[in-house]
């Protein structure tokens, strides 16, 4: 395992030299919701990169801001939710500042997204072919037979049998797994350099889940595109991703390579997520360990670490101040005061004023 980590570090996402620059750079992204009660932040200034050619996993419970973050990147936020500050640079274009016409061109073209529920993601009244062709015709110059060929090829590439026949079928004539394949085909038909998958397997049968995951991995290897994979399932993340970002309460609490996250888990929240997953070795009688409590309501202004109310290793400082992200070994970093001593030895990602008082309290 250590060797593997070693290997990743050697060529790593730092093999970006080979695979190119960071494709997507999110910096200090803040998203807030306007409601009748006033507006409140749901994403608190997060930043991350997606390197060309990698699969980045975003994990967290429901309500942690995973989907909101990626919808903000896509410019698909509901009308009462908006980006209040920050930058989302995609191939040098700031998507936050880009107008709707430019976003329309990017979406479905170079920047694609697949959603959770395949049963409702297609227009029920138009044949599959119509729905894939309109995307192809919108983003490529292809028309008529040429576009049809592209569509057939896209459907074939996602493993649908008799793609020519599928074109005239309606969504209700296909099963959930087949629909998700169609959706992936639509998302990938214009060869996007970034594909965002928002829990694409959550609504599917377990048996179908595996085949859809395999499909995403295969297509990723074929096309060499970047994938951002949102999930709350640590198992799925482990099998698919190169790097992982763990989100909690609208903040990034831990990030690193898959090995770092799974074998050198630093944040108590990540440990909690892993602990509630059964393994083959877990004795049948042994109950799973849940994370007690629920995700804090974003409307309540949390002071300090958002996880502190549920954390078994909570210290006084956790309720007072949000920890900065401490850089650990390799690409691993973690926003938890417990990582401070370890993290201080290396460079800090974000350096907030840590007063002498706090460090004293820590020592006590």
């Amino acid at each position: 395992m250590a060797k593997q980590t070693e290997a990743i570090r050697a060529q790593g996402p730092l093999s970006s030299t080979r695979r190119g620059q960071p494709l997507l750079q999110v910096r200090d992204l803040r998203v807030s919701v306007n409601s009748r009660m006033g507006s409140y932040d749901v994403i608190h200034g997060i930043g991350f990169d997606v390197v060309a050619g990698e699969i980045l996993g975003i994990v967290g419970e429901s309500g942690c801001g995973k989907s909101i973050t990626m919808n903000a990147v896509m410019g698909l936020l509901p009308s009462n939710v908006r980006v209040t500050s920050g930058k989302v640079a995609f191939r040098g274009i700031d998507l936050v500042q880009a107008g709707e016409p430019l976003m329309e061109q990017l979406r479905g073209g170079d920047l694609a997204m697949v959603f959770q529920d395949p049963m409702t993601a297609l227009d029920p009244l138009y044949p599959i072919g119509d729905q894939i062709l309109e995307a192809i015709e919108r983003h490529s110059g292809a028309r008529g037979n040429e576009a049809r060929e592209v569509a057939i090829e896209a459907l074939r590439s996602v493993g649908l049998s008799e793609p020519e026949k599928r074109l005239s079928q309606y969504p209700f004539e296909l099963s959930g797994g087949m629909r998700q394949r169609v959706i992936i085909a639509i998302a990938l038909c214009c060869r996007p350099s970034l594909l965002i998958c928002d829990e694409p397997t959550t609504a599917l049968d377990v048996t179908i889940q595996a085949t859809v995951l395999d499909l995403i991995r295969e297509l990723h290897e074929q096309l060499g595109n970047s994938v951002v994979f949102i999930s709350h399932n640590m198992g799925v993340i482990a099998s698919l991703c190169d790097r992982v970002t763990v989100m909690y309460g609208g903040q990034i609490v831990e990030r690193g390579t898959v090995d770092e996250i799974f074998y050198q888990t630093a944040h108590p929240y990540t440990k909690g997520l892993l602990a509630c997953m059964p393994t083959l070795e877990t004795p049948r009688e042994e109950p799973l360990v849940p994370i007690r409590g629920t995700v804090p309501d974003p409307r309540s202004q949390v002071v300090g670490c958002p996880f502190s109310s549920r954390c078994s290793k909570r210290m006084k400082i956790c309720m007072r101040e949000m920890p900065p992200e401490f850089v650990l070994e390799g690409q691993h970093s973690c926003a938890c005061w417990l990582c401070m001593s370890e993290g201080l030895s290396s460079e800090l990602l974000r350096v907030p004023p840590i007063s002498a008082q706090i460090s004293k309290e820590e020592q006590r």
Partner: protein, 306 residues
Amino acid sequence: MIKYIAKRVGFGVLTIFVVATLTFFLMNMVPGGPFTSDKLSEQAQALIMAKYGLDQPVPVQYVNYLGRLIHGDLGTSIVNVGYSVNDIIADKFPVSFSVGIIAIILSCLIGIPLGILAAYRRGSAMDRVITSLSSLFSSLPGFVLAVILLYVFGMVLHALPTSGLTSWQGYVLPVLALSAGPSAILSRITRASLLDVLSQDFTRFLKAKGMRTKVILFKHALRNAAIPIVTTLGPLAAGILVGNLVVETVFSIPGLGSYLVKCISQRDYPVIMGTTIFYTAFIIVILLLVDIVYCVIDPRIKLDEE
């Protein structure tokens, strides 16, 4: 499809039979008769009643009527001697229909676009204005609006004729009076239905595909929103096309609606019966058309399925 239509026609005939029966007995329960008058002696009244078969017991009259109805004969008018009910309907219905069809087209042209606009600009001042106007006009009784229009345009401004359909100007006020309510109802249904569709997942996926707003709105959302719109439009259109009793009376339009009012007060039994049966048949046909339109809109709807 043909099997389904045949089945529906069968049920339609049954419906007509039930409606005819109910109307017949209800009509005979109302006191008074076509010849009740101080000027006629009781003897003369009895003679005329016997001539039209009205002296017989009601059940016998009913059986006789059904016998004629099966042959498509709706009888002759008692009051307007010499006119068959079939002729009267053939004469009056086109008048009501010509006003009604303009009114229903106008309602669609006003109501549906306003509904789309309100849904698209949801929460804006525009939306609030459209929604308020829609509530106002859908709750305003037709006769109130008809009288207001009559007073303002006819009596005060002298801009438009107040009665009859002799020129195209004659159509303006009745069409306005007829289309206000349906426009309001259609705009509300369109808005609600469209908002429902726009909040569905597939709309977001269409956006994620980079589709333009106008494509999402007109190609996808509107077609998905069409079922409730057509469901509302069908009976609404039927009600207007056969002639609105109030509006026709207010504007003195020689249509079927105003004629029916007159016949009811004169107890012209065959005309009342005939017109009611005609209304029923007309509405059955419209509803069948609505069902066929459903199939055109939504491929998931199959009429022949059990």
